[in-house]
């Protein structure tokens, strides 16, 4: 089965990173697509939380916003937003935070705030939203994003949310943050995981048909590769079917 797009490969791979025991704090866009695909395929018991206050939600279509009515209507319960951030996120009840990024550095620090200078930005991006606290309060962080030299950068214009800081144990030592931090980066080309010592993202599997050169060309830092380099398992037919049906239902619903 080779009839799938790089984006589909990315979503399916990201979905597989979640298990039925996870409680996942879901960002809108790619994370939401992957998390719901997981729920609709191998992880029906996966608990999804959106920052609008919806706990254990099971949307039939992907929400356009973080607070579509669909999320509330299919949730176990909906709590006020201060409670969401206090009891549920800060309370340490979320196993996986699923984030996207405009810019990412090799230590998993994320920028979604500005391109250029903060006070006179070239491009004003939406900003952090829930990310600064998602990044430190969830058990671990998965990042899903398309790969390019503009997005995987040597140096962020602005640190919106903490990854592994300057690498190594910087996260714990300088900032007193004891959660695991970014533990997986899933792109349209490969999967990366932090090196156990340096915490620099290291390619641990290449998607089918993708070469090391492609990864290097689309990484703004000096790409690192693990000693063993398996191929990321290709999407199964049932995964692609579920993903495409989900996207079709979604497009129809949002006009």
């Amino acid at each position: 089965m080779s009839d799938y797009t790089p984006n589909e490969m990315m979503s399916v791979t990201a979905a597989r990173a979640l298990s039925g025991n996870d409680v996942c704090f879901v960002g809108i866009g790619l994370p939401s697509e992957a998390a719901n695909l997981a729920r609709l395929t191998h992880a029906p018991d996966l608990t999804l939380i959106y920052e609008s206050g919806t706990l254990g939600t099971q949307p039939k279509v992907l929400p356009l916003s973080i607070g579509d009515g669909e999320l509330c209507e299919t949730a176990l319960t909906t709590v006020p937003v201060p409670e969401m951030f206090r009891y549920w996120l800060q309370g340490g009840r979320v196993t996986v935070g699923f984030l996207g990024a405009a810019q990412l550095d090799c230590f998993g620090n994320i920028n979604t705030t500005v391109i250029g200078d903060y006070d006179a930005p070239k491009v004003r991006l939406p900003g952090g939203g829930g990310a600064p606290e998602i990044a430190i309060s969830c058990g671990e962080i998965f990042i899903v994003m398309r790969q390019s030299k503009r997005s995987l950068v040597e140096r962020l214009d602005f640190v919106t949310s903490l990854g592994h800081g300057m690498g190594g144990n910087d996260r714990a030592e300088r900032f007193g943050v004891t959660t695991k931090g970014p533990s997986r980066l899933i792109t349209d080309l490969c999967v990366m995981e932090p090196d156990p010592e340096t915490k620099a993202f290291t390619v641990t599997s290449l998607h089918p048909g993708v070469t090391r050169e492609q990864v290097i060309e689309n990484t703004g830092w000096e790409a690192l590769f693990a000693d063993e380099m398996p191929e990321t398992p290709a999407p199964l037919a049932k995964e692609l079917k579920a993903l495409r049906a989900l996207k079709k239902r979604t497009e129809k619903a949002h006009g």
Binding site: I28, G29, E51, S52, G53, T54, P63, L64, S65, I66, G67, D68, G69, L71, C72, E73, T74, A75, T78, P80, V81, P82, F85, R86, L89, Q90, N109, T113, Y118, D119, P121, K122, V123, R124, L125, P126, G127, G128, G129, G130, A131, P132, E133, A135, I136, S137, F158, V159, T160, S161, L162, G165, R171, R174, F175, G176, V177, A253, H254, G255
Partner: protein, 287 residues
């Protein structure tokens, strides 16, 4: 004490040039009709406080109402940029605009502190985040028991809170249902308030004992505006108009197109225009 009035009266009585204004609703129940009236009354110099500026503040900023914006996520959800917000920050159009930027957790805690009558909110946040460098309203306190350093931000106590709710009782009590966001906190923390509602009912007899209700003696003005949250939504009444959120991207992209659209749809409009966005037959999905 709650007073029933028209939207014109409520806005004229409550919103003054230079006010700090919190028009809340986390995706759900955004008070669009009230924002249109604020623009029609030509208020300027406002500090606009909202976790997600969304279309409602994109419009107000583009019409020159704002001199400052306090927010935590300024995009068009699932679509892209808020072009008027960006144009104001990047190009100072139609006027320069000050920015106080926070995380969602910080703003949610700050609203909570405002409702709780505290001067500041204390939480675990902002570790390693660069907003600490650019926002002087992020400070720290130390837990006197554990020695842990925690983040602190000032409480949000707006001059006026404006929110939309499903129901007012005839006595003036307000009921919220669904994604309830920070609306209760915004109203309790504000000096004055305007609540637009989908309907006015005798009482809330069919709600559970722990429903999210604000008593009449905590409320300023109540205005009956069916459909008044559109293109946001009112759980149980009408859905979010996701198609419009996508269309907004094109409408707001250039200055002239934006101003023309606003002139036609907002400046020449009225609160009654919103009723058409609400289906005649109320849907009553509970969950």
């Amino acid at each position: 004490m709650a007073e029933f009035s028209t939207l014109e009266e409520a806005v004229a009585a409550c919103v003054r040039d230079g006010d700090a204004l919190a028009m809340e609703g986390f995706t759900h129940l955004i008070p669009h009709a009230a924002a249109h009236e604020v623009m029609r009354q030509g208020r300027t110099g406002l500090t606009l406080i909202r976790m997600t500026p969304d279309i409602i503040y994109d419009q107000m900023i583009g019409m020159g109402c704002a001199s400052r914006v306090v927010f935590s996520w300024g995009g068009n959800p699932g679509v892209g940029s808020l072009h008027r917000l960006r144009d104001a920050i990047e190009q100072s159009w139609p006027n320069p605009i000050g920015v106080e930027e926070h995380s969602h957790a910080a703003m949610a805690n700050a609203y909570d502190a405002g409702a709780a009558g505290l001067p500041c909110a204390v939480f675990r946040g902002y570790r390693g985040a660069e907003l600490v460098r650019v926002n002087p309203n992020i400070k720290a306190v130390v837990c006197p028991f554990s020695g842990e350093e925690l983040a602190a931000v000032p409480a949000i106590n707006a001059d006026v809170a404006v929110v939309h709710a499903q129901k007012a009782s005839k006595k003036g009590d307000i009921l919220f249902e669904g994604i309830v966001g920070v609306q209760k906190e915004a109203v309790l923390g504000a000096k004055r308030s305007i609540i637009t509602v989908e309907e006015i009912v005798d009482d809330f007899a069919d709600s559970g004992p722990n429903a999210v209700i604000l008593p009449h003696w905590t409320i300023g003005h109540i205005v009956h505006v069916p459909g008044g949250a559109h293109p946001s939504y009112a759980h149980g009444y009408y859905d979010r108009d996701n198609a419009f959120y996508k269309e907004w991207d094109a409408i707001a992209k250039d200055r002239d197109g934006f101003r023309a659209w606003m002139e036609e749809h907002v400046m020449q409009g009225s609160a009654e225009d919103f009723a058409r966005h609400r289906p005649k037959r109320t849907k009553r999905k509970r969950r």
